[in-house]
Amino acid sequence: MYLGWIENSMRDFRWYILLLLIPAAVTAAADGQDYIGDTSDGSRSPTVHILNLYDEQGTKILPSDEPLLPFSLRTTCGECHDYSTIAGGWHVNFNRPGVNPGRRAQPWIYADPTTATQIGLSYRNWPGVWHPEAIGMTPWEFALHFGRHLAGNLSEKDEGEAVDYQARWMESGTLEINCLACHDAEPGHDQSEYAVQIARENFRWAAPATGAFMSVKGAARDMPDMWDHLLGELPEDPKKIPPTVYYDPGRFDHDHKVFFDVSRKIPNNRCYFCHSNSDVLTTGMGKWTADQDVHLTAGLSCVDCHRNGPDHMIVRGYEGESEVSANPLAAATTCQGCHLGDESSVVSAKGRFAAPKPEHHGIPGVHFEKLTCTACHSGPRPEALTQPTQTSRAHGLGVHGPEKTASMLPHLYYPVYMRNDRGKIGPYKIFWPAFWGRRVDETIEPADIDSIRPLVEKALKDAARPDGEDWPEITVEHIRTVLGGMAKLKGFEGIPVYVAGAKVYALDAQGQVTESAHAAAGPGSWPIAHAVRPAEQALGEKSCEECHAKDAPFLFGAVTIDTPVVGEGSRTMTMIEFQGLDAGYMKSFASTFAARPVLKAVLFVIVFAAGLVLLLYGLRAAGAILRFLDPDNKDRQEHV
């Protein structure tokens, strides 16, 4: 308690010093000045960034400094760009209160094989995901777990009033917004190094370490508590190296400035680090067989569509985004916006980037009312059984070091065709939550993971583990043991439950494990937007029966229910259960497609016959009228 008070006081003291040392360029934001980097004279030529490097305190870094400090993006980039405005951008505003979360997207998935846990977390209020606090995860722990793919903007201030005594913000530094993660166009940029530095708790060194002209050795993780990087003190253990930055002296010019190859036109490869997907079964870890998005093939880049202004509120590009986003391009930057035009858009969108107008020959218009464009054009084609997939953010793809097996947690499956918030059906990636929690009345919430970890790990000690990164094989007996132990935990409130595989396991009065259904056991999901397939590869391009057949995967494909519970692993659900459609009707409707050729033939005969009768009698009537009107026709009175 006493030590904690000293620690907090020291931290506060450091903040006061930092505030005093912030350079004038940064304080310009408070004066409401326009930053030179955030305004434009209209020239389309890129700005060359030859910059001074500043450390956290705003002091210019010279290559001869001893000790050499990592440059701070807040002070270096903040000299010309409004850092506080950028901090409100979509990639870094995840923990800001009051930000409209918009359409649900991929959450951070906490996966822990030792406790058989797989749960979606996000600071954004999306359905099916939990706030990190729900499992007792502090911002410090969040940064350690997911910082590898965060764009930064986490610091001790985000801890709020709660004190995390495990946090080492003082030693690690804050996780500043990592501008280089997106804007560094230099081929030598290594974003994987960022993950390495996060794992070493080198938060203040992480972003500079990714640059091509510097490297970082050592780990703040190995440094003792209260270690101060400014003092340059060495640990007693000579094997432990304090974080040290090395700059390429050749990159400094005569004025000790450095050329940054940063670009407003973000290279696709920068986006791919966090936004890659891997099809586990078809392409596996190799990517040479995978095709990229048709838009990229056509020559566009990610940021041609996903644009933003100085506020960095990037366009996400989904239908309805303009209702929650102030980005003037939001309405124009949807599939419909570019390919068909959107009347609500403030910019002329139709045909942007030479977007072809889709013809959709022979497709009834009702499809466009009930399906998203991505339903037919995005992600893999549906198969009889959903396929496993991995993503950068969920599996750390692109990060050096950890072995990424096909069976490693979290287990994601796709494509699952579900109904979105606007009532349209589109493709989704899903995962099945598995967590130990509590039930209070009808509400289920996860338990603090650290408080139950010893109990769960002990109970699951004898559970078979075919693969260390995969699920342990949990039996009902294991569940009974853990739930029984949780009920006896001091301060545990509610009924202990285990959520897994779309089921909620609890103990009845006799101590037997019971199963029930609950919304909390439903899958976490997010829509698939990419990779977009061209018209020739769209779903339904071959025939209507691709979707309208009794066994069409789009409607009747099996969705894997993932669970660590032994004996439950082979369960599936049908795709149509996620779509709110009547399976009986859809099968009946599908059966009518066999009779469609006959129907078309009948209609053709009807049209032909009706046309023939009309033609024959029309000609006959015309002849009769002409004869009748002929003044030389002496017989016309006889007709009367």
């Binding site: 497709i363 009946s588 009948v602």
Partner: protein, 223 residues
């Protein structure tokens, strides 16, 4: 104003107009049902049953007559089914035709068109206009010959209207089922189908009403 609203107004107006017309021209119930009938308060019910009775052919009708009546009855039933399935969801639920209604509509309307064309082939000769039936020609020729009953002229007009509307009604759906046209043309075809269906319905109501009136006249004044 949407097409759905226009359709509703057109249908209500058509039914109202025929109802008003029938009120003025309807024969006396005593003539129609006989003076000696019991329970006169059942006359409205009798009036409702009459159109069903009118479907049956005369005793002396030949095979063609029976077939024609059979097809007419089938057309009436199929039209009713097609009408309900087409407009129930649009009028009462405010949504597009979908689900089992759509499936039934597709089946019944295809059968309706088939029966209709068969009936047309059997009776087209009876609905050919004679020059004397054309009021314009009659005026032009200062004709003083035998006048044609307006109901007969109406019947013929509606017959050809029905046949004429069958073409866009069916062709629009046939073309939309083929992979020939893009979204905009598809939407136009659906619009053509809907407008044709509205006019077709009006024509069918007027045709059926005129046919019923003609039958009534024949029942009351045989020969």
């Amino acid at each position: 104003m949407t097409l759905v609203q226009i359709s509703m107004i057109v249908f209500v107006m058509t039914v109202l107009l025929t109802a008003v017309h029938f009120m003025f021209r309807a024969p006396d119930n005593d003539r129609l049902f006989g003076r000696a009938r019991r329970c006169k308060w059942l006359d409205p019910l009798r009036m409702l049953i009459l159109p069903c009775v009118s479907v049956f052919p005369r005793r002396d009708a030949g095979f063609a007559g029976w077939l024609r009546h059979l097809l007419t009855a089938a057309c009436a039933v199929l039209f009713a089914v097609s009408f309900v399935t087409a407009y129930y969801q649009r009028f009462l639920e405010g949504r597009q035709i979908t689900g089992y209604f759509q499936m039934i509509h597709i089946g019944s309307s295809a059968a309706l068109m088939g029966c209709l064309i068969a009936a047309v082939f059997l009776s087209v000769r009876r609905f050919v206009f004679a020059p004397a039936e054309n009021p314009f020609l009659r005026r032009k020729l200062s004709d003083t010959g035998r006048r044609v009953m307006p109901s007969r002229l109406m019947l013929k007009c509606m017959f050809w209207a029905i046949l004429g509307l069958t073409l866009p009604l069916t062709a629009s759906i046939l073309l939309s089922m083929l992979p020939l046209f893009g979204t905009e043309v598809q939407e136009m075809l659906i619009l053509i189908h809907r407008v044709s269906a509205m006019l077709f319905t009006v024509a069918v109501i007027l045709f059926a009403y005129t046919l019923f009136c003609k039958w009534l006249d024949e029942v009351i004044s045989p020969g």
